[in-house]
């Protein structure tokens, strides 16, 4: 026991010393090595049986109360994983409260939902299932319906000891979502293929970094790893007006005043496909979104030329789904 403590302390010291002695040279290197955006790599460790089952269920309308919509109804894999509506539409055309985020690459987000209330994909699924204005059902009724389907029963029995269960349904859907990884031309560029994107796109990327979009939209998922205030450099909500509950963001989860209007920074992958933008669906075009971002998040005005280049860069982020993950059109 004592030895562990000593070892840990020694290790800590060594690491600390290493960090601080290396930091000088690291600054120089990090410009090259440490790009704020890291290339995307598809997951290799997935259970294909689960992925396929998850795909079926993701497209299965029996997961909604009146059998009218599936996950894919709002998250159309062929449309960037969204419904392309300002706010989602649930069963009986019930209007939702918030814009539908994409499911593509969402497994890379540190938390799920705009306000980050779900810590995992599995946890997330409970949301739409029960939401009145989304699928409006519950697990017992879903299980009742699915148990009539022998092929599901058999498949689940094959994969799980306990067969068809709510947890296992969540597991397969999540596994399917984990397969929805979309490497793009830009990732190939990051990996060294310099001609994978155009000159303008490269320029756009440089601007994206220079303007400081990378302060928030960085990492593998170009976002999705922190909460940020929407309106750092100006009061977005005051300017927009008509504030509702979903505008409170992470505050709804933490009830902490500091978290008011804080949102999970969304991933910008496939951003060109997922208009309209923002949690309120207020930005109809990418240009609108970039403008708002520049103004409220960076406190910058942007020449139209730069906007254009950044948009071009953002378009290079639209990726390709792995073959087995492509969803059927519902």
């Amino acid at each position: 026991m004592k030895i562990h403590k000593v070892l840990v302390t020694i290790c800590s010291f060594i690491s600390l010393i290493a960090v601080f002695t290396l930091s000088g040279s690291a600054v120089v290197e990090s410009a090259e090595l440490n790009e704020p955006i890291q290339p995307l790599k598809p997951r290799q460790d997935l259970n294909l049986e689960k992925v396929n089952l998850g795909k079926l269920l993701f497209n299965d309308k029996r997961l909604s109360g009146d059998n009218s919509i599936s996950c894919a109804s709002c998250h159309d894999i062929n449309k960037g994983g969204v419904d392309q509506l300002p706010v989602s539409k649930g069963v009986g055309d019930a209007s939702g409260l918030i814009n539908t985020p994409t499911v593509l690459n969402s497994s890379l987000n540190f938390r799920q939902f705009w306000d980050g209330r779900a810590s995992s994909l599995e946890e997330q699924i409970d949301g739409p299932i029960h939401m009145k204005h989304e699928m409006n059902t519950d697990w017992p009724s879903i299980l009742n319906k699915l148990k009539q389907d022998q092929s599901y029963v058999d498949s689940f029995n094959k994969v799980y000891k306990n067969g068809l269960q709510a947890d296992n349904i969540k597991d397969v859907i999540s596994e399917y979502e984990r397969s929805l990884i979309t490497p793009s031309r830009f990732d190939r560029y990051l990996q060294g293929q310099k001609d994978a994107i155009t000159e303008n796109e490269i320029k756009g990327y440089e601007l994206f970094k220079r303007y400081g979009c990378v302060a928030c939209h960085q990492g593998v998922n170009i976002g999705g790893n922190m909460y940020q205030l929407f309106g750092v450099m100006g009061d977005y909500f005051k300017d927009r007006g008509n504030i509702n509950d979903s505008d409170l963001g992470h505050f709804n989860v933490s009830k902490n005043e500091q978290d008011r209007h804080k949102f999970k920074v969304p991933s910008l992958r496939n951003i060109a496909l997922t208009a309209p933008y923002f949690h309120d669906g207020s930005a109809k075009t990418l240009r609108d979104a970039v403008k708002i971002m520049a103004k409220y998040q960076l406190g910058r005005t942007m020449p139209e030329k730069d906007e254009e280049l950044i948009i071009q860069f953002l378009q290079s982020l639209s990726g390709e789904l792995p073959a087995q993950a492509k969803g059927e059109k519902q």
């Binding site: 600054v27 910058r300 005005t301």
Partner: protein, 607 residues
């Protein structure tokens, strides 16, 4: 016996259960689990440390994205799960362990929250800090371009220029230093600039605005970030891990102590069991030894057994032979007894004719000298006739004598008498010869030859033999039916009938009747002998066919009569039954099969 087995069984089960219990207790302390837990705790420490490291790196802008600050939480969560499951697998109620784990988990939550805040703050701060130099550069170049268009240098512009350049320097200094008090003058400066903003042309004031806003971000966020970092670093993470470690160690130590205890107990118990086993082994060996001795004795006994058996067999066969002999003697004596009876009867029967034959012949013999005299006279008469001297006198005398003798004969009727006497003797002799014949009929004792025998005749001959016993006392009523001849051993059956008849007559105290009935029923010949005697008491009735059972005085009967009769009838394939009523009489019924297949060679009893 089975109860003892059962208790033994339960007892051994119990002992095994104790052994298993102790063994599992000893085994329950899995050293791998222990290492895994301590290893997990170590990983917690190092992961937390690395997380801090990443936060610091981010703070120092060594890292340009926040994945590295975000992802450790994912690993930490799975480590937490691992620790929780590992500890819950321990299944020990240790409140201090639970508490310390809870404290640790809480501190991780706290840390995560702080780091989330740090990420948010730092991203903006970092961005503003990066941007501020550009913003000030932009402002300066704008001022410059404004100034160049004016021929006269504008003193406010120059002041703004130098102020913004000072601001940049101060901000960079502020960023480098840990001193909080540097914020005050900068904030003051910014307030002044803000108030002057309106006096500048739009193009300049926009740039100035950007500078002020970003500078404000830097000034405001820096202390916040610093305090966040301080909080993050000062979180009692390692203390909490240490607490877990200590609590766990306590649990582990007590488990080790338990284990040691159980181990010692196990050893002791195993020792006891071994001793017990040794004892049982010893006992077993002893019993084996005893068994061996017994076995040897047994083999010896076995070896001698044959001899002994042979000897015994010999003894037995001798005894058997003796028994047979004595039985044969008994039977013989029984035979002799009945023979004696018979002989007595027969002698008596023969005596009477023999006596009058005797006297008759005596009488005839008395007549014989007269006849002889006569005969002599006659023989002399021719001589007289032939004598020359012809002595008339002598002749006359001779003739007179003959006449006299003949007259005497005639007078006495001697010839008739003699004739009668001889006839009487002849009939007496006939009687005797009849007697002898029946005797022969009866007493074919030694011949077992089976023949077609008429039982009625047999009965008659028996009656002749028994006559002596019966006459003057018993009236015999014969009620013979037409019965088929049967193959049998007549002498044996006669013996049976004689026995039954003699018994019947003996049962009759004064006078009475014996009724002999013969009749045939389907394939059976029945002989029924009924007397009007005193009857046989009910209590001895079942025993009358037992050998040596007798009601007669000692020496008067062998007690074998009825048992032999029973045997004989049995060997003929027949039955003998008895019905008796005290003071009324007894009735024996012998039933014999007409076509019996008995092998008479086996007729030993009566031999």
């Amino acid at each position: 016996m089975s109860l003892r087995y059962f208790t033994n069984f339960v007892l051994s089960l119990f002992m095994i259960a104790i052994l298993v219990f102790l063994y599992t207790k000893v085994q329950s302390l899995n050293i791998d689990d222990h290492y895994e837990i301590t290893d997990t705790l170590r990983q917690h420490s190092s992961l937390n440390f690395r997380w801090n490291e990443q936060v610091l790196k981010t703070k120092l802008s060594l890292s340009s994205n926040y994945d590295s600050v975000t992802n450790p939480l994912v690993d930490l969560r799975s480590l937490q799960n691992k620790l929780n499951t590992k500890l819950s697998e321990l299944s020990v109620e240790s409140s201090s362990l639970k508490e310390s784990v809870e404290q640790y988990n809480n501190s991780i939550e706290e840390k995560n929250k702080l780091i989330e805040q740090f990420k948010g703050q730092n991203a903006i701060f970092d961005n503003s800090l990066r941007y501020i130099s550009t913003a000030i550069e932009d402002l300066v170049s704008e001022i410059d371009s404004q100034s160049s268009s004016n021929t006269k240098p504008n003193p406010t512009f120059l002041a703004l220029k130098s102020a913004s350049q000072t601001l940049l320097r101060e901000l960079l200094e502020f960023n480098q230093s840990a001193q909080q008090n540097l914020a005050e003058p900068i904030t003051e400066q910014l307030r002044i600039l803000e108030s002057q903003k309106k006096s500048f042309p739009d193009t300049v004031s926009v740039k100035l605005d950007a500078v002020i806003r970003h500078a404000l971000v830097v000034v405001k966020r820096k202390p916040e970030i610093d305090s966040l970092l301080a909080k993050i670093v000062s979180l009692p993470i390692s203390t909490n891990i240490e607490k877990i470690e200590n609590a766990y160690t306590a649990v582990y130590d007590s488990r080790v102590r338990d284990k040691d205890f159980y181990f010692t107990t196990l050893i002791a118990y195993a020792g006891v069991l071994l001793a017990l086993l040794a004892f049982i082994g010893y006992r077993l060996r002893n019993s084996y030894r005893q068994l061996n001795v017994l076995n040897k004795q047994l083999t010896v006994a076995n070896e001698t057994l044959e001899e002994r058996v042979a000897q015994r067999t010999e003894e037995l066969s001798t005894a058997y032979n003796e028994l047979k002999q004595s039985q044969a003697q008994l039977i013989q004596s029984e035979k002799m007894a009945s023979l004696g009876q018979m002989v007595a009867g027969v002698a008596h029967e023969i005596n009477t004719p023999l006596a009058y034959c005797h006297s008759n012949i005596d009488l005839v013999k008395e007549q014989l000298p007269d006849i002889i005299t006569l005969f002599k006279e006659f023989a002399n008469f021719p001589n007289l006739l032939d004598a020359p001297e012809s002595e008339q006198q002598a002749l006359k005398e001779g003739l007179g004598t003959i006449q006299e003798a003949m007259l005497a004969f005639e007078k006495e009727g001697s010839f008739d008498e003699m004739n009668l006497l001889l006839e009487g003797s002849l009939s007496g002799l006939n009687q005797i010869s009849d007697m002898v014949k029946s005797l022969k009929d009866f007493s074919r004792l030694d011949q077992h030859k089976v023949e077609n025998s008429d039982l009625n005749k047999g009965l008659d001959s028996v009656l002749v033999i028994a006559n002596n016993v019966l006459k003057n006392k018993v009236e015999i009523i014969k009620d013979y039916g037409e019965i088929p001849k049967i193959s049998c051993s007549p002498s044996q059956l006669n013996q049976v009938f004689l026995n039954l008849i003699v018994n019947a007559s003996q049962a009759i105290e004064d006078t009475g009747t014996i009724t002999l009935r013969t009749y045939s029923t389907n394939n059976f010949v029945n002989i029924n002998i009924e007397d009007t005697g005193k009857g046989i008491p009910q209590d001895i009735l079942p025993r009358i066919f037992d050998p040596f059972f007798t009601t007669k005085e000692i020496g008067k009967g062998t007690g074998l009569g009825l048992s032999i009769a029973y045997k004989i009838i049995q060997q003929h394939g027949g039955t003998i039954t008895v019905r008796s009523e005290v003071n009324k009489g007894t009735q024996f019924t012998v039933s014999l099969p007409v076509n019996q297949k008995t092998d008479f060679k086996n007729f030993e009893v009566a031999a």
